[in-house]
Symmetry: C2
Subunit: 327 residues, 2 copies
């Protein structure tokens, strides 16, 4: 196809995190036709990171034998407080960013409309638009990975609140005086049930002499430990790892119940790397615990399910946002 | 004024709780011109309780030298899950009610339009409409009394969610494995910071030999202990009571921060009997703790204030609802 007759009917989704930038190219029906990934290198500063996003997007488009002219819109999820209207990242602790005009910079470089959202919001939007059979009025999407965050859908729309920070469920306190969290407080949900929390519990026990097949699999220092290794260990009958994962699933269930009590959503969708890797081991415990801890009457007809979007939640959400906004 | 020329421009607010029914009569400008109170006697069953609500409303109207013909609408807050559309109390644990067609029954007896809401929602609505100088898009009203609940305003409207149970913040877990809650779980916000929790902590310490001026004031069994007594004890220099109240204020602050992290409201208003009685002792600690525990960026420009509506929050909210709905 020559540039002259190129139709701009493709969408680009960008999942922009503290560690990596993942770009997906989507056809007009939101089918993913190609991807590209680069590391973020946040330490190089905002301008260098923006260059890397631009390169990642261009690489993915080129990989699909497309040109920027064939892209109708780009949707990008960024970690932190994001203002979709001004197109600014207001605040992103992981990146060390404050008031970065990301939309403007990307549009200047790429010449295509760019739409921004918070990363968990964009994942929730992607799940809501592509994964649910019905269109419930309210949905809570909780993503458990290195950290924990959520996107909230109210009246069929993303809800981000006064400071555009709604959904920071990882920093609900579940255990006053509990383990220290990256945010500086103690006992946050994220400090109890994220991958970081799970790995810390495993490493600390191993250091204290705990026997586990994980050390046979990965060596005594457990370098390169990943969520999938925990699943393998459990399937090999490792009772210690099973217990750690059960405990984390219970914390997730308690948090889900707390959030159902507060928000009364119609559906709760769980996603993120930890849930992807350990769905079979965790979901039944999460649902059971949530039912135990939710107040009488709050769970009637409420579904709690695992997302199947996996690592692609962010890019799918980005493409959905781009399609919605360029309609 | 004779019945013939009576203008129906008054509003009635009813605060219907597990212990008492309070009715307020309001003039066209929502000024309260009279009240009446009866006990609920929930144990006599729904039909008997409805008769008592009817009597309480009639008494208050009569006390103001008005007739039912001069009432344009009645707004009533009930404890539990309430469906304003069907006019039913779906579920109310304190009352032992399930699916009670309260609106229909009251309208039959009183011949005036009746509008129902959850009790915390109606209090939040009253605060929102009558107490705030500006009209923020979002507000969280948290009421700390015998129990703890909240009303959530999103986009200027009450938000009650899928099961009409949103705002049950008293049953967010703040301390996994903490003190037992009336709901059957452990470590709920309500089990840590409600009047019930505060009194339990005081009584248990006194039983264990703790010295306090409260026993001088009320006798060793602390029968008839009220929130106001705690304030008096603190003002008399009772360090033990001061510590109990500080601890409760800290829990409230942690819960406020958790809710700001989740909901990002523009303003948080605290009300209910405990806050009314102990505002001076608790508010500074609540605000400071909330600032400590809220995530960076979530508190920008957010106000945390105490409501001045006191015991009248429910009846004011009821009158506001009645006026809104009969416009």
């Amino acid at each position: 196809m020559t540039e002259a007759n190129a139709k701009s009917d493709h969408y680009v989704g960008v999942d922009f995190g503290g560690t990596k930038i993942l770009t997906g190219i989507f056809d007009p029906h939101l089918k993913c036709i190609g991807k590209s990934k680069v590391s973020t290198k946040a330490e190089r500063g905002a301008s260098a990171v923006i260059d890397r996003i631009v390169r990642c997007v261009k690489d993915a488009i080129d990989e699909c034998d497309l040109s920027l002219k064939q892209v109708k819109g780009i949707g990008l999820g960024a970690p932190g407080a994001v203002d979709p209207d001004s197109g600014k990242v207001i605040f992103a602790a992981n990146l060390g960013w404050k008031d970065v005009a990301l939309k403007k910079e990307l549009e200047k470089e790429l010449g295509v409309p760019v739409f921004l959202e918070n990363d968990c919001n964009i994942c929730a939007l992607g799940v809501y638009e592509t994964e649910l059979k019905t269109k419930p009025k309210s949905m809570l999407g909780i993503f458990v990975g290195t950290g924990i965050g959520a996107g909230i859908i109210i009246d069929g729309k993303l809800y981000s609140g006064f400071n555009k920070t709604a959904g920071e469920v990882g920093h609900m306190v579940l255990e006053v005086g509990g383990p220290k969290c990256g945010c500086g407080n103690k006992g946050c949900f994220e400090a109890l049930a994220s991958r970081t929390a799970i790995f810390r519990r495993v490493l600390s026990a191993v250091k204290d002499g705990q026997k586990t097949v994980l050390t046979e699999m990965l060596g005594n220092d457990l370098k390169d430990l990943r969520s999938g290794d925990l699943r393998k260990a459990i399937r090999k009958g490792d009772k210690f790892v099973e217990k750690v994962i059960e405990e984390s699933a219970e914390y997730i269930g308690i948090a889900v119940a707390s959030l159902i009590n507060v928000l009364s959503p119609e559906i709760v969708v769980l996603g993120g790397g930890v849930i992807d890797a350990l769905e079979d081991e965790m979901m039944a415990i999460i649902v059971e615990t949530a039912m135990d801890y939710s107040l009488n009457g709050t769970m009637n007809g409420v579904e709690i399910i695992a997302s199947k979007t996996g690592d692609d939640a962010g890019i799918i959400g980005g493409a959905v946002l781009a399609k919605k906004e360029t309609k």
